[in-house]
Each structure stands twice: as structure tokens, then as C-alpha cells.
Symmetry: C3
Subunit: 396 residues, 3 copies
């Protein structure tokens, strides 16, 4: 088969050691490994487009462990798992039942006897989500080492307090497709900017995931936000380090308008300041409803000082030829559509609406690619076999 | 293979253009197209009975979007989708999250990247359910046209405020099987009658679906209800028009007893008057709990004037040879079983109980047939291939 | 294929008539039939370990009808069903909707048109769970006899008020594997002992299931509990009868320490006294919240008199060579881990933790084996065909 020949050659060339590992953060992986995941995703897209079955698992569960609400990530996970032949099984118990420590170790094993992958979303408590995933991974290691589990299920981070790799990798794939390959991103200017929203408490994992990933591909990355809206310091430091290592740059800006100048890509999105998320986490742990209300009031009042941080037509005109690519993880707070004032002016969003949908459409394939790379030793061979076999997905 | 030879010939003869279309109301389809769906359902039943696999999809999601509770329709949808190889995925968010307008358009796309069919039940608000489905269909068109979606998922109406096509088509298939073919229905008298129930607010979609469908096959259709228990006027007008076009008739009656005389089929079922559903919808939108309580009281008091609208043994004796076929979409309000007085006398229901179960048993195949016809260009060829391939469903 | 040759020969030798029957209690089955289920489970494990597909159903639903919360049984059921190719479908309606009597009969049929197995968990009300399953079985018989259902779905008891056969059979398989075969259990001493827990109202089905099963294999069985913590008398009487028939023995003990002397296996687990469960059931039926609180207080106070019923290191030293196998259905109440004082000392549990996980790991295969035996006429041939076909589960 020639339809995925180039991608397979590239995957073979890149090598990497994703097999048998969890996917918790992009910065745990080498740049080549990340490129490999993108190529695998592209292969799966091509195979499906050509009506070739991508069923690799004849049986097996994909556990969906969502600790907060989700529509698009849930469907991305369900779709990616289904594409490979896995059956979704929800683990929806309250936190009281699946708590940390001893019980979490046991639960990890009890749900995993015939499980291939566990997708976890846990982004509400700063300091908790990533830790929980690491802990669950250790429990699975323990069970696998002691032959409790016939296989070591892989954990895929579907959004933690720190990173959101299925989102950022889908965004990267989108950028690659849009600009004609990852190599064309080199030197491009991308702005990850805070934007105003009439809500508060939006997680940090999207901006953190973005700057933690795109600083590795030689781009000129600018992080813009009002004073006080900081991300977790370690993530920002890593972004700076990675940018310089990759031959790109990383800068901070205190104004959206300033940051947008000559940008090739803009990603305006609201988030809550790091220290607010810390206070919020403490209040949530204390079940302090009154305190949470107070914090919300305080934050919304503070947010209201920055309604000018809207991705407006005026702002877009400052970008390269006035035509920067607008990105968003969706749903966006669109001024005069979903709220009076929001992250983005309605006409700007509408112009890029279809692009944001396409951006989201890569997510199921990124999920599937992560599973494939984590569960199979030789992804290129596996994909080659799928293509050669050529079984039809729709069996008309 | 000869086991479905006659049905395949019929499907080929009927032609039709169901491919690529949603199934929202039977009256959007030609009579030949409806006949075709019935034949496809019959083929699937025969194949399954003969232990032949009907798996047409190697992967793909069937989204279940139920905006109110359901057991039998949910299982019919799950069963039909599973028969064809699709994996069920619930979309169960509250209305606040998946609201109308901009957001609905986005959600429609976000859940559809690898989705083949979306089954929607939305029957609580008069003026809302059907409109919602049309709107979602437009959003899918938009996404497909812009290459956001690699395929255009089909929408199947699993009950709206206007029609309930999986129910009415299953009922029609039941009638066809019972009387030895659709052609034998010509000239037969069928009574769709209101019946007393100690509850109120039952949807209009079943009686509307029935008169909107069966008036197209040359039957003598009588719609009977107490004064004031009107259905949506447009639906009734369409029924009358269709009856005359099909060489049948459509009459109204103000008494169950009168309507039952010489009937071949009776379908006694409670519903709330059209104008009550309008008031109820307004109150629901206003969250007017007190108003809803008042309305319920008023309606139950009014209902109580018509407890004689029970499908009794005396009533059944008036039908043709006292042996009309009793139909119901289930669950029925059975006097002295599920309530003191209800829609049907216990002995009448018990005599036809198994027939009503069989009636319900056609629904999964109707769902599967709608999906097959909507998603595959040449249903006859697809079914022929399934039969020829002859893969076993149970692989003993 | 030789990998399961011995097991197949054994299954053929044992014979049995599990096909077409529900699996509600182990004592409804002959000892040979139970041995056969264990051998089928072992075959499925071997096939999966060797990456051989165990997909027997190309389509079909496995209904999960859980009337109370569950994680591990739910996943066992999901895993076992998935291994065989069935799709899980939850039936999660409130009790008000799926009530007993007429409605239950109807619901049983409505969910079963394309269903192969219904797994039911209903253990909260003494006198209710088992009865409900029998009743549902009769409804399915009725539907199948009248050709409403094209197949008679099998019911698998996933825990009733009386028995918990998937648990006890997994425990028995664990014992067989641990001691090198069921025949090596003959003469071994096993203690099913009550143990202290800071909660109350734990179901009787585990201890009842254990003594109802293991008394059939020639073991020396001891049931130990404080005065008043009786199990359902009929179950205890049956255990005694079975023990003597199988050439083993059945004794009662009033002290854990005494019972543990020279034990080969100990199963210390909390349960509520039979008469308490009767009172609790009555209060639950009356919705008597205050009464339930009072009962709980009374029971916890009574429990507190028996905190010494902990499986301690001192207790374990009394067992054969101080090395009895510790068993538990999990989750255990572990002293100083999940509670101050509980069923088992932390160091004892930790020493056997991996063994209890392995014990739990047999459950998905027991579920799958029950389904296979219940739905296929000739399990040995079916398994032989799977092995001969040799389709890969992971299709790398």
C-alpha cells in the first residue's frame, strides 16, 4: 500500500520508546516521539478516509474515568477507542469511593483485568490530577509486576491540573496541517494569550499544555496575560528552556494588543490565575461554600478590569497581514453570542469557526495514536499491516 | 442466497432516495420509501434468525441523545445499532449545556467526528423537539460541507413533539405481518382512539405518528377522542389529505364505542390535548411549578369525566366479529393492574399482551433498517452481500 | 491445538446441562457442572493469554441491571461480556419504574429482543433479590415460548440476597489454582469467619455463597461468628448436608481464634446478622429513616462488642504452619488503613494483598464461562473451534 508510505517511513525513522508508557505530559516525551504520534494519527485518518478498518483490538476495555464533566473530550476518547476496537466502560464513582491511597491502588487493579487503556480527566484540584494519574500508574505497575494483570493498561491524560496533551497535540497537528508540515512552523510567531471571560476558574491546563508543547518546534512563542494571571511557574520556566533549546524564542507580554503584532497564530483563551486556583483548591477541600462564593466574586471583579482583552477585529488587524490563524480549544466565550463580552469578537470567531472545528476534529485521532503507540511495540508495522490487510470499515 | 430473495427484489423495485437523509417524520418520505424500510427490516430479521451476521460497520458511534427518560426506545436503539456493529455513546448533558443556537451547532459537530448516526428523543416541549432535530441536521450539513466531518451522520427521530416514526413504522410492520402484507390493509378499518388514563401530559407523538402514517395505505382510519382532546391541527389535516390520496378514508368520532363498530384494528391510548401541551410548554419554560400543578389538577379533573373511554370487553364486542386487533405502544395503563381505571380492561389486554410484545419487537429492526437505508446507497446490494457472505452471528 | 487439550477433555467428561439455564445459585447446579464452568474459565484465560480471540458473539447485548452500586462486579461483568463480543447496555431505571409484577414481566421482554445475557445485582432487600431474578426468568420463558423473543437471554446472578455465585466461583477457581487442583482441596480446613467492621448492613450473600459452594468439595468447613450473627438458616442447613454428602465436614464455632486452629484457608469478613437484615428490609420498605438510624446505632453498638474478631497476626499464627491462605472478596476493612479497627490487621492483609487481587482477577473469566456455558450447547466444541481458528485478539 502506498497511501501511508511516507508517514510509515517517517515513523520508522523517528524511532522512539512510547511502547509500554503512559501519556501524561508532552514534556515527558522526546520531540521525535511527539512527531511520531502525529504521524500515526495522520495514518489513522488516511486509513479511515479510505474506508480501511483500524480495528486492532478484537476485545478489551477502554476505561473512561472522568472526574468532572466533559462532552468533547469524552467523545474524542470514545471515538478513538472505538476506532481501534475497544469498548468504552465508564468509571463514574464519586470521589468518596475511589479515594486516594490504599483504595486507589486496589481500584486501579480491579478495573484493569481486561483493560487496555484508562483515560483520566482530573483537572479541578491544583496539585491533584497529575499526582493521581502517576499514583494510578504505579498501582498498575505493581499489579502487572505481580501477574495480577495480564497486561499493563496504558493511562492517557485527558486533562490534568498541569497538562492537556490530547488537546495540545491535536492543536499541533492542526498547525502542521494548516502550514504544510511541522517544519514550516519554525520561526512562526504564536501568541498564547489570556482573554476576558465572564466566568472564572477555567483550568490552566490548556495554556500550560500549549506553551509546554509548541516551544519545542522552533517557534517564536509569546505568552500574554494581565499582571497576576500567572501559570504554574515550573511550566513557564520549562517553556522558556525548551524554546531556546529548539532554536525558537519565548517571551512574555502584558498586553494582548502588543503581543498580537505580526503574529502568525493567536490562541486567546481565559484562565484563572495560578494563585487563585490554589486558593480555590484549598476552599474546595474545606468544602467552604461561602469562601468559594467570595473568591468567585473577587475574581470576577478582577476579571472585569480586563474586558479589553478580547480578540477583536482591531486586534486581528495587527497580526501578520491581518490574517493570523485564530485557535481555540472550544467552547469559546463569544461576545454577543454566548455572553455580552467574551474572549473573542463574534465576527472574528465566525471567520475561523470552521478552522476551530477542524482543530477539534484531530483529537479522536490523537487519542487513538497515543493508544496505538503506547500499546503496540512497532506502530509502523501495525499500521502497515492494517493497510495491507485492507479490511473495509463500512462493509457495503 | 434465496432466504431474502423476494424482499430484495421488492427493495430494488421500490427504489427511493433515503440515502444521506435524516429520518424525522414518515410524511417526509414517499410511500415506496416507507415500504422499502419495512422490507429492509424484514431482511435483517430473517438474516439474524438464520444466524447471519448483520455487521456492516467495523467501527463507528451511534450517539444516543435522550432528553427525557426511556427504556424501550433506548433499548431498541441500542439493539438496532449493535446489530449493525455500531457502539452506543450517550450524550446525556443537561439542557443548560447543550442549548440551542450557536452552541447546538458546535456540539453537533463535536460529537460527530466518527459518528454514523444520532438518535434523538425530545418530546416534552411542543414546538421544540422536531425543530431541534432540524437544527442539528443543518449543523451537521454545515460541518460536512466544510469537511469538518468526514461523513454526515444521520439523525433518527426517536420521538419528537410531532412524530414518533420508529414506533409507527414498527406498528405498520406489525400490521403487515399480522394481516399477511401491507396490501391486505387496504380497506381495513383502524381506530386511533383516545383512552382514559389517571395521568396527564402523555405526548401527542404516538397518535399523530399513527394517523400520519397509516392514512397512506388505503385504510379506513377513524380518529376518536372526547371534545377538546385535539391533536396538532396540521397533522390531522395531513392525515385527511393522505387518506383520500391513498384511496382510503379519514373520519373523526366523538365516542370510542361508536368508533369501534366493525373495526379491524383498535389503538386506544391516552394523550394530552394539544392546547394543554401548549400551556404546559409555556409553564415549563417559565419554570412555573405552581402553574404546572394547577394545570395538572385541572386536566386530571377533566380527564376524570371520560373514564368510560376504556377499551373494554363490551367495546371489543362491537368490533369486526368481536376480534379486532388491539394495539398499544406500551406501557399501557391497564385497569385493575397498573391503576384502578385505565386505558384498557385487564382481560382485553391480557388476550393481546403477546401481540403487543411482538409489536414492540419490531422496533429494533426498524431502527436498524432506517440506519441502513440512510447510510448506505444501495440497501439491496448491501443486504445481498451480507447474505452471500453468510458470516455467523453466533460463532459456535 | 494442545494448549487447552486437557481442559477440553475434562469438560467433555463432566457433561452437564448448563445450556439454556440461568445461573442464580451454585446449589442449583451439579458439582460436575460447577467443575465444568471452572474449566471453561481456565480455557478462556489460556486463550486470551495466548492472544487468541474469544469473540463468540458478532452482535448482541449484555444487559447490566444493577440495583445498587458496584465497581468490581460491574467491571467483571463488562469485561467478561466484552471478551465474548457482547456490548454492555445499562438498565439503570429507578425502582419505581421497573417494579415487580405486571411491569417487570413486560420490561423483561422489552429489553431482551436482541439480548443474550442479563446480569442482575439485587442484594439490598432480604427476600427480594433472588425472587426478582426468578420472576424475571419466568417472564423471559413466557416471551420466548410465545416467540416474542428470538432467543431466551440467560440471567446471571451478580449478587442476590442469598447467593453471590460469580464471587464464590472465582474464589473456588482461586483455591483450585493455589492448591494445584480442586482434588487437592479435599480434607483441607477452611474457615468462613465473621470479622469486625465499623460499618453495618454488609450483605449475607458472600458468606452464604462461600459455605453453599465449598461444602461440596470434601473440605472441612468451619463457619465462625459471634452469637446472633446468623446467616439464613436454610443456607446453613444446606451447607451441612452438602458437606456430609461430599465426604467433608461442616462445623460451627463461636470464636475466630478457636476456628483458626490448623486452618488451611481463612476467609474473615463482616456481615450483618440475618434478623437485622430482616428488620432493615422492613424499615426500608416503610421508608422509616428514623428507624433505620436507630437500627444502625444499635447494630454498631453491638458490633463494637466484637472488635477482637480481627484477622490478626496472632490469629494467623494459629493456622497450619502459620501460613493459611487469607481470602477476601474486597474491599476489606483494613485496620489502620481504611479504618481504626477492621476485619484484618494491616500487615496480614499486605502479605496477602496480591493473592486477593489474583482472587478477584478470576471473576471476569467466571462471568464469561457462565455465559458461554449457558448460551452454547457444546462448550468444549466451541472452545476447541476458537483455539483452532486462532484469530488474534491483538492484531499487531
Amino acid at each position: 500500500m502506498t497511501m501511508i508510505e511516507n508517514e510509515l517511513a517517517e515513523i520508522r525513522r523517528l524511532g522512539g520508546a512510547l511502547h509500554g508508557k503512559d501519556f501524561l505530559a508532552t514534556w515527558d516525551k522526546s520531540a521525535d516521539e511527539l512527531r511520531s504520534v502525529l504521524q500515526i494519527a495522520r495514518c489513522l485518518m488516511t486509513l479511515r478516509e479510505n474506508n480501511i478498518s483500524c480495528r486492532l483490538f478484537d476485545s478489551g476495555l477502554a476505561v473512561a474515568h472522568f472526574r468532572d464533566q466533559s462532552t468533547r473530550t469524552r467523545f474524542s476518547y470514545a471515538s478513538g477507542a472505538n476506532l481501534l476496537g475497544l469498548a468504552l466502560q465508564d468509571l463514574d464513582e464519586g470521589k468518596s469511593q475511589i479515594s486516594h491511597g490504599e483504595t486507589a491502588r486496589e481500584t486501579a487493579n480491579m478495573i484493569s483485568f481486561l483493560t487496555e487503556v484508562i483515560g483520566i480527566r482530573d483537572d479541578m484540584f491544583l496539585g491533584a490530577g497529575h499526582t493521581y494519574m502517576v499514583e494510578m500508574g504505579r498501582s498498575l505497575d505493581d499489579g502487572y509486576r505481580h501477574a495480577v494483570l495480564p497486561q499493563r493498561p496504558m493511562i492517557v491524560n485527558l486533562q490534568s491540573d498541569i497538562d492537556h496533551p490530547t488537546q495540545s497535540m491535536a492543536d499541533l497537528l492542526h498547525l502542521g496541517q494548516y502550514f504544510g508540515g511541522l517544519d514550516h512552523l519554525r520561526g512562526k510567531k504564536i501568541v498564547m494569550s489570556w482573554a476576558y471571560s465572564p466566568s472564572y476558574g477555567k483550568p490552566l491546563s490548556v495554556p500550560q499544555g500549549i506553551i509546554g508543547l509548541i516551544t519545542r518546534f522552533g517557534m517564536r512563542v509569546v505568552l500574554a496575560h494581565p499582571e497576576g494571571y500567572d501559570l504554574i511557574p515550573e511550566v513557564v520556566e520549562r517553556a522558556a528552556r525548551q524554546a531556546s533549546e529548539s532554536g525558537g524564542s519565548f517571551q512574555r507580554a502584558g498586553s494582548m494588543g502588543e503581543a498580537f503584532v505580526d503574529a502568525d497564530i493567536v490562541y486567546p483563551k481565559s484562565w484563572a490565575p495560578y494563585h487563585v486556583m490554589e486558593r480555590r483548591t484549598a476552599l474546595l477541600h474545606q468544602n467552604d461554600t461561602a469562601g468559594l462564593k467570595d473568591l468567585e466574586r473577587e475574581c470576577l471583579a478582577n476579571n472585569a478590569r480586563f474586558t479589553s482583552w478580547e480578540c477583536s477585529e482591531a486586534g486581528m488587524r495587527r497580526t501578520r497581514n491581518g490574517k493570523a490563524l485564530y485557535m481555540h480549544c472550544l467552547p469559546a466565550d463569544i461576545s454577543r453570542v454566548s455572553c455580552v463580552r467574551g474572549e473573542v469578537q463574534d465576527s472574528v470567531f465566525e471567520r475561523y469557526r470552521i478552522e476551530t472545528y477542524k482543530e477539534a476534529g484531530f483529537k479522536p485521532y490523537i487519542v487513538a495514536a497515543m493508544i496505538l503507540a503506547g500499546r503496540f511495540e512497532n506502530p509502523a508495522e501495525v499500521l502497515d499491516n492494517l493497510a495491507s490487510r485492507g479490511e473495509k470499515r463500512l462493509r457495503s
